[in-house]
Symmetry: C5
Subunit: 350 residues, 5 copies
């Protein structure tokens, strides 16, 4: 079935109220993404290097999405002219008020899966493989959606919309299964509180992913009116804020808690203490100093080399080595009992 005889969804003559509401939702979403970008940038040092890729992914996502909303705003602002009390579209600019979103998603959705995986517990080759396959699936999910809804017949052919929508959905299904699996298998290696936040983050991400196909399907089922277009733009903007900022704040919390757990367990050092919602999770710990013992001890055997070559807790290190060399098991790194969080006693250690 063909929709060529109805106007392009983007080219609506907008009454003032709805036009302002779309402007509002685009600019507010852009501001929220920009604020989140600044927050990720300035707080990235609060996360240990082990989980920092999660924050850096969030930061890149926020920056790209902010730019994308800037482009959207300019298109929306210049795409309509106020005449006789309504905003009438200008074909060239106004038709480009939805598809810039696909360009944003092409880069940010793969990064969102990387952000989630960076606070899971998969390690080594298994982590690399899953990261690659989910990023590729996310990229293809967006690309096929873009081809179906925008490029082929300009999104006016219902058959193309449906066929490419289904292809896109197949990639979504893979993502769904793969990410849920990764999150499930990771929760046992962290504290209960961190695990709960990780689960919530996954729910927010995969849940909001469900909004996009719904909006995508709107032109399949209805003739787009100004109110529908307003709804589509507001829904996309809200979903973007939820899936990027809301999800990002939860991942940030997981990363911060896991940093504290690593420090408390002696697995890693971090120069700042960790506080979450005004609760103290770990002390700051400086790394050891080069050639430390030689300098300060007089009569001891110089065992500095052992110290420099190995982490402080050899058996944990061996686990890591073991995993790295044999890739056995499910690729998860046991977090050395860190699941007990900062409350574990000294007895847990050996």
């Amino acid at each position: 079935m063909d929709v060529f005889d109805t106007p392009t969804p983007e080219l609506q003559t907008m009454p003032l109220g709805l036009y302002d509401l779309v402007t509002y939702s685009i600019v507010a979403a852009g501001f929220a993404l920009f604020a989140y970008f600044l927050y990720s940038w300035t707080s990235r040092g609060e996360i240990g290097v082990r989980y920092r890729p999660a924050v850096l992914a969030g930061l890149c996502i926020a920056a790209v999405a902010t730019l994308s909303y800037l482009v959207l705003f300019i298109r929306w602002d210049t795409g309509f002219t106020l005449t006789d009390g309504v905003f009438t579209p200008n074909a060239e600019a106004a038709r480009a008020t939805i598809y810039p979103r696909y360009v944003d998603w092409t880069v940010t959705v793969p990064l969102l899966t990387a952000e989630l995986l960076a606070v899971c517990s998969l390690a080594g080759a298994r982590a690399r493989n899953l990261r690659f396959s989910t990023m590729a699936a996310a990229f293809l999910m967006i690309l096929t959606g873009f081809l179906g809804s925008q490029v082929l017949a300009e999104g006016r052919d219902r058959t193309a919309l449906v066929v490419w929508g289904l292809i896109s959905t197949a990639f979504y299904a893979y993502l769904y299964v793969a990410l849920i699996g990764a999150v499930r298998s990771s929760m046992s290696s962290m504290s209960v509180e961190a695990g709960r936040s990780l689960r919530n983050a996954a729910i927010v991400l995969l849940g909001t992913f469900g909004v996009y196909p719904l909006v995508y399907a709107v032109p399949v089922f209805v003739d787009v009116t100004p109110a529908w277009l307003t709804g589509m733009q507001v829904a996309y903007s809200a979903a973007d804020v939820l899936a990027k900022v809301g999800f990002g704040v939860l991942v940030h919390k997981v990363a911060k808690m896991r940093t504290a757990e690593d420090v408390a367990a002696g697995i890693d050092t971090h120069p700042e203490s960790v506080w979450v919602s005004n609760v103290h999770h770990s002390e700051g710990v400086l790394p050891a100093m080069a050639g430390g013992r030689t300098q300060f001890a007089d009569n001891t055997v110089d065992d500095a080399p052992e110290f420099a070559d190995h982490p402080r807790h050899p058996h944990e290190h061996h686990e890591v080595e073991h995993l790295r060399e044999h890739g056995l098991g499910d690729g998860r790194v046991p977090a050395g009992g860190a699941r007990h969080g900062a409350t574990r006693t000294a007895d847990d250690r050996h």
Copy 2:
């Protein structure tokens, strides 16, 4: 009652002097917000990680508000044309010289409540819940105000103005009560000087919040003239500077003093000394070094694990743990006697 028969408030023909005064107030407010953004950015390291969310919220607020003033300036600058010695409005651009403020507030007012709460003493679940409810109330306060004054009937319907204004005021009332409560219950856990600044910050914030409904109500009571429009723009600009920069500077001071109190009380470390108005509040203290004791002591029992897992002052840590696990009391973390500030003696410690 209907105001459709009077011109839109924003579409005034402005004489040169008033036009320049509005330009001046918009650009000066934008410059002040930008300077405050730079200050927050470059001085954020002076605040310990515990209170740093306050500064990061301030930084995001300043950045978003600066951008918003840039948009306002461009609208104002391009929205009027000098003809025959007066500035005549251009309908499309000039009508957008007030409502961009609502977009700014949608993001910044929730962050302002988060900024205030980040230097209060609530902790754990109670802090999270209050933060969520006040941020939601702040968001709804702005959104309903926006719908009433701008979207519905373009703010030209007095009934809508009043009804939505009252709904918005209800959220304001909740904010007022909740924030006052949080500040009151926090003041006892910090030094007198920090507490006084915290109280002042709350007064500035909630006080200037009162300016906005007054300006909002102007079109309800009077026919807007160029002088009224000038007054509205100048009042909004001054209130924004006061509520963001003035408030932010006070919160920054509270955060700095509480950082010093934590360091002096041994609750936290901070690599730089803290000075406020040229008065010394605390020394810089580095975190302990990984595996510290093992390295330097020859004959002592290796009790490093105990050290790594617990903060230096176990009884304080237990209080925190206690709160975290049972959530009892009012959720405030006792600051370990920090209310005495840097002048407390060693006897306070045990």
Copy 3:
């Protein structure tokens, strides 16, 4: 007396040479301010936290002024059209080639007084009060100047120019007296070299402040010609560079030397050594480590609490406390003999 019958000073038909000279002076001043902004940003870590507010003020000043010159440049560039070998003004843009300067000054002149006071020795309440009153006076000095020369009768009424100019001058007089007093009383608490630079900084600042009223008075005494306008723009640009960059470089030097003096006197720590013009002023000193003594010493009395709560040199700390609590004397913090600079001997320490 009225000047309405002569053309507005800004609306001159400029010959090529003079037009290019004004462009040159605006852009060169903008570049110099931008370079100084980058320098302040990248070298702020060289200053200890005690004096860092001076550098941060300088940084904000430079950024705001750079933006202001960008606006000026755009106005100047678009405000004139090359026709028949001369640049003819376009009323709307060209009339806005001087008053943006007032917006800049509204924010930067109060910050300049804060910058100067931040390297003086006043402390506590006295510092806060003087900072507040001088910043307010500076703000009012600019605001009244702006009202008189630009807003009221568009600066074309000689009586208004004179009256408001005199009001503005009264604030300048207060600034002059208050800042000179603060600098005088501070010089004895720092080394001779730092004191000399502080005095020079005050001379540069208050001296260049004298240029502005002279330029402000030009339209009172002469009919502005293209050459006069060129002179006004070049003079304003040169004065801005001198009062912001020249002054800022001197304050930066004072702040750096005082940092070195504090480190050398043991009052503060600073992780980098301090060099001024290739001369070594102090070593880098790291802060002490948390729980230091407990960790390393076996048999000593644990006096760590005393150490953690007090600065290393109790008598100096007591002076500070004394000042803070009683606010007596003139509010200056004695710098613990730091006036001898790095050359003081161990005997000064007691």
Copy 4:
């Protein structure tokens, strides 16, 4: 043979679908490069100073390429007008939608060779010479390609296209041989995993370099149609992302692993631990403290000078000195057994 009788390749009348696809590929590539720029910027501290030039080169490459894609996007966006359902080119802007790429490559391709060499093991004069000659060859490869395809006869003369294409290819051949040689001779001095990533990085770089001459040759063999132009733009965009982002991520990994190997081998210090894909590669190690031994040891001979003047492992230092002074061998610095990675035992050290 002359192609002047066919239209310029860039000046195609584009149907909507193909036009959107080119916009998509330009903007998506720009976003990916921008995200990679942010990632390089924020993660550069994870790489030790020894290999940091690689990350800094990657960062500069990403920034320049992002700007270049911004220019391309503006040209492409303004270069075509939607008329009668197709995008018709505007001669001045549309003709500049390919050659900005050459300006980008002029700066980025020499930096790409520097990026690769910075993680190889050549040192001293040999490294400097090879870096200089490969950067010069890369510069000339692009310059001659630009002259042939754009400047001379505007790329419409097939003979010029072929002759200059061959000259350009000669420089490519040199690059190919020189870089392959450097990578081959370096792989033995690092761990197997790092070496494999280095090899992959070289394959990605030199492989994608092969795409450019293919696209360059298109106008030699076919009359460019809208589909061909779309293909050229998409291919260039994809190749740029692969050669800059894909290559950069691999080099980043090599640099991170080699940093860990240096720390584990005691050759260098790094204040953060190193984790790659959630696997722990090295502990954080602080540098020694100035005058360390004098301060803490009571009865030992003060051999601090020896320590301060020499690296901890004199024989390794001597190798370096040796190389520096005599430039013998192949210029590679033996990495002190680092090829065994973090798993080497203390026995390797002496």
Copy 5:
């Protein structure tokens, strides 16, 4: 002699090839300067604070020059219109395609002399005086050149060109002599390798300075044609890249080597090791800790004050003090034997 009867040099009708070549040279130079700016910014921490002013000067130079090239690009791009296969100039914009360079040079050339002097060995008053006089001479050299070639008679009067050219040359001659002298007298106080790079940097700087008067003189001797204008623009761009980026990279290397020499000689601390072209020059060294000895040593005499007030090597410090107080000799700070670089033995120290 008068050149008013020939067209202004900037207002040439450009054929496509030459126009593209100028665009290419302007944008490529801008990209190179921007990349160098990012490199200076991100690598400034590799240089010790003593020589850091050199890198900060380079960073400011790069930023200002990048902006200047952005202005040039916009002028060039908008200054010509493609009509009938050639680019015809638009008088207002096209005439401003050379003189923005003078604005850039007004700020950057004085900074270039400061950059060079910052890695020389002059110290104290002598350094300050020479820095001031060379920066002033550089400023006047550019200002007089600008007046002669652009302002007076718009550069169309050959007599003015020659007279002001000669005045400008006099300042150049002073710069030449003063800088050569400073470099010559400094080379003996650093390692041979650093000295050689310093000499090369001076040659590059003063050599490329010679290109500018040659281009300046072009309109004196020839009637400017499109090819001559292309040559002038390409030559200016190439000279700018050489004098700013090429020179800056050499100065960066000198600063890095001298940092390593200071650390190796115990004159300064630096938290990172120093590597140049993969060759190790010095270890990272942390500063001493506050109150170090008191804390860690039990039975020793507390000589901490001596330590805190003086650098570790009192005789070196006394030399510095001596110089600072008496200003005798030639103002050079003896670098404590650092001229032997990292290879000096412990015996050099006493």
